[in-house]
Symmetry: C2
Subunit: 156 residues, 2 copies
DNA sequence: TAAGATTGATGTTTCAATCTTT
DNA sequence: AAAGATTGAAACATCAATCTTA
């Protein structure tokens, strides 16, 4: 349907679309900042380390390829490379060449890495509960929020 | 109410609270990434520049103090200082000493700054519409999402 | 002493270029 | 040529220290 006189360029976003976008950025910045601060105050490393360690644990004893971490954590290739270098230097992960594809490697979590992940989780979960859970108490607010955020990740 | 045998430490977040938290980070990363990419492909500077220019325009001819930008854009003090230095070097803002408080300064947008902001907005708004508006079409989804995100910014 | 702002040192991200294997 | 991964250089962010005025 096309009406004479209508703008041909993409429509202006509705006010509440702009509001949702603005609040998405601000809420993420604030909550993530609070979570990182909680980890920092507990003398623990940043969340990015936790994310890698958890993904590797979930992947089991075979570990993961760097490009898989890239996909799952939405990180750029050089960032994964350097993040893994830091984790390896800290003794938290180990890398060995991939038997089936000698371009790549398998990354696995070490005992020290598992230990750190387990020490981070209580601090992390308390921060999530404080800065997300308690703000969404009563009714199904967390579910509603999650469902709507999920729509933003839909493919097309 | 307290039941014997209950855990005394902060409760584990409910599954949908963790899901909301995870999706908040991922949705923001993806949508912001898409918006920045749209600006980049149009040969325009990053969103942070737009944010400053828009705040300064809204503030009117008196401009804003750097600490006000800090508050409104959730940026750290040294980041504001260096961001303004870049904008000033590009001729987009001007700084002059504050008459009432000579520790500080007033930052104002220049004609070139207003022009850039006006050239960025069509690209920015199209990206918001594409990556937020179209994902939330039908019903009051954008309003519901915004309302729920707003709860995450509540004070306590 | 504290608020507003900058600077130096350091660490991280980003872009493009590179290297190796498929 | 393309995929998987690393590296150099430059941009940016972060922390602590500093400087100036209130």
């Amino acid at each position: 349907m096309h009406m004479a006189g209508m703008a041909t360029m993409p429509d202006d976003p509705a006010p509440d679309v702009i509001r949702a976008w603005t609040l998405l950025v601000r809420a993420k910045t604030r909550v993530l900042g609070a979570v990182e601060e909680a980890l920092r105050q507990a003398g623990l490393p940043p969340l990015a380390w936790y994310d890698v360690l958890l993904e590797l644990r979930r992947a089991g004893h075979c570990g993961l390829r760097p490009y898989e971490l890239e996909r799952r954590l939405l990180l750029a290739q050089p960032n994964v490379s350097r993040l893994l270098a830091r984790l390896e230097a800290a003794g938290l992960v180990a890398r060995h060449v991939c038997p089936e594809d000698r371009r790549g490697q398998m990354v696995v979590v070490t005992a020290a890495g598992r230990d750190l992940q387990e020490r981070m989780w209580p601090v992390y979960r308390a921060a999530i509960e404080q800065h997300v859970g308690r703000k969404l108490e009563s009714d199904r607010a967390a579910t509603v929020l999650a469902d709507h955020l999920e729509r933003l990740l839909a493919d097309p």
